[in-house]
């Protein structure tokens, strides 16, 4: 089953569908767009099926593809694709998926959104996708050492921004990062 591109792709899809959907839903401003981005991500993956790494690394690779698809989408390459219509319907009719994230309008949310894209993505991958250093290295295509350095800097910038916003630092240090 897994030896042909078709069989292999189906396996990858079955494994990665939910995490990729989650990844995209957490980053789309409008859940209405998530189905299109998921479609775009897997369509690209299918086109590049031979480049997809084996095992769990496939998921990290797909996060990278999804991130680019999201960026394209934001740049205006957006469209409502028919192939994503059924999924879109499922998403937009779900109260849980269409309500704004609980912390969106909090001060923390605002500070987090004010971070630069790379910092925000890195911290999100830790907090939301629960990736460790090694997995981050695979996802971002950089060394573990580089991950540590970047993470350290991103956290520092986040802390500084939180302090500037008058948010109790140590609590956050303990609970989130």
């Amino acid at each position: 089953m897994g030896s042909t591109p078709h069989g292999r792709f189906v396996q990858i899809y079955e494994h990665a569908y939910r995490p990729v959907l989650g990844y995209v839903l957490r980053r789309c401003q409008d859940p209405d767009d998530a189905a299109d981005v998921v479609a775009e991500t897997f369509a690209i993956a299918w086109q590049r099926v031979n480049e997809i790494p084996a095992g769990d690394e496939a998921r990290f690779w797909l996060y990278g593809v999804a991130r680019k698809a999201l960026a394209n989408h934001r740049r205006g390459e957006r469209r409502h694709e028919r192939r994503a219509a059924a999924l879109r319907e499922q998403i937009i009719t779900s109260p849980a998926l269409t309500k704004p994230p609980p912390g969106e309008y909090t001060q923390l949310g605002r500070v987090f959104r004010s971070l630069n894209d790379d910092d925000r993505e890195l911290l999100s991958l830790v907090a939301w996708e629960k990736l460790d250093t090694e997995q981050l290295a695979h996802t971002l295509g950089i060394t573990r050492n580089a991950v540590r350095v970047r993470l350290h800097r991103a956290r520092k910038r986040f802390m500084r921004a939180l302090t500037d916003a008058g948010i109790d630092l140590p609590l956050f240090e303990r609970s989130t990062l």
């Binding site: 042909t4 591109p5 078709h6 792709f9 189906v10 899809y13 079955e14 569908y17 939910r18 995490p19 959907l21 989650g22 401003q29 409008d30 209405d32 189905a35 479609a39 897997f42 369509a43 299918w46 086109q47 031979n50 934001r74 740049r75 205006g76 390459e77 469209r79 409502h80 694709e81 028919r82 192939r83 219509a85 059924a86 999924l87 879109r88 319907e89 499922q90 998403i91 937009i92 009719t93 779900s94 109260p95 849980a96 998926l97 269409t98 309500k99 994230p101 609980p102 912390g103 969106e104 923390l108 949310g109 987090f112 959104r113 894209d117 999100s124 907090a127 939301w128 989130t176 990062l177």
Partner: protein
Amino acid sequence: MNLDDLARVHDDDLNSEPAGQVSGPGAQTLLSSIMSQPPAQGARAHGRRWRGPAPWVAAAASLAATVLVVTMVTTPEVQRANPAAASPSPGTQPSARRMLLAAASAASAAKQPMQGAYWLTTTVSGTDAISPDRGYVIRLRHVQEKWLARGPGAQSWRIRQYLGAKPLTSEDRAAWREAGSPTQWKYPVDMTPYVGVAAFPSSEIVRAAVEEKAASRLRGKWKGSGGSLTKELVSWEELRRVPSGERELRAYLEQRITARAKGGSEKDPGWRKSALESACMEIVFGLPVSPTVRAAAYRILATMPEMKSLGRVKDPLGRMGEAFGYHRPPGPGNENPYEIAYIIDPATGLPLAHSVTTTVELAHGRTAKVTDFTAYQQLGWTDAEPSLPAKRD
């Protein structure tokens, strides 16, 4: 409060969501649609050469391109091949400009009830698909009523019915008879992306027969909303705040577009222009706004250089109207050019239909025009109550 609270959803929560099920219709339709295309050259590297899709898939692929664009019309987010290059003039082509300004006057003079219990939109939509043997074209039709309740807490509804499928032209009918007058069409792989039946995810089989009406409650963000503007469902209160002067409306829409766009797209002039056009189309095609707001949207459209007049045309339901829109040259994703048309009733400025048309190749060297359309039968306020069918989604 921590970063976790900033996540819309956690992967674990997706266990209990229909959208999160990889075996569900959303995920499966997507998978089969993606895999109905051949993978790129990469797949050949393994020495196992992809033999190419079944012949009808290739032909249908250009139709897929059509369908892809068509879905935009409900929330018309338009992406154009090369909008600016076509014409350097500061405004729409003279004839289109004249038509749109006339539509603006007609719209602002229109006498319509300004209030009611529901904003009712009844549409008939059609999708043309190639028969699995590529011998002829069939048209699938749906009718949909959208009842958006104005009262606080009142339930909004969508009532849909599949009107069946049949051969499109007399030529198609002849080819269909020759094929034994089938009453259903079975596609070898999931044909969903090509025939537009995504709302009926189980069907690799397209049936000729009419189906029962089914009603679904509009939930979530639809509660208390009068429709979508700049791709966001908006409340009735917000809709009342939409300004009716051309300049004020433009500023208002620009501001909404900026608020919605993050991550740099708000600085992309092409994206902004397309978003503004889409927003105007949302207003003209279906939002419950006053006639003067609709007129202002027409006036903004009249300033857009790429809009062309497509003349007097019959809409897909056979009603005479005037059309504007544009042609898209062939490009990646569409082998043949296609035409995007918005058809309005010049007497009232109200929408009749919008459509996307392209050409496909059939068997025996025949080519055929295929269209994907939505036609408006009713658009306005009503105090009537929806007659709900027994079947509910």
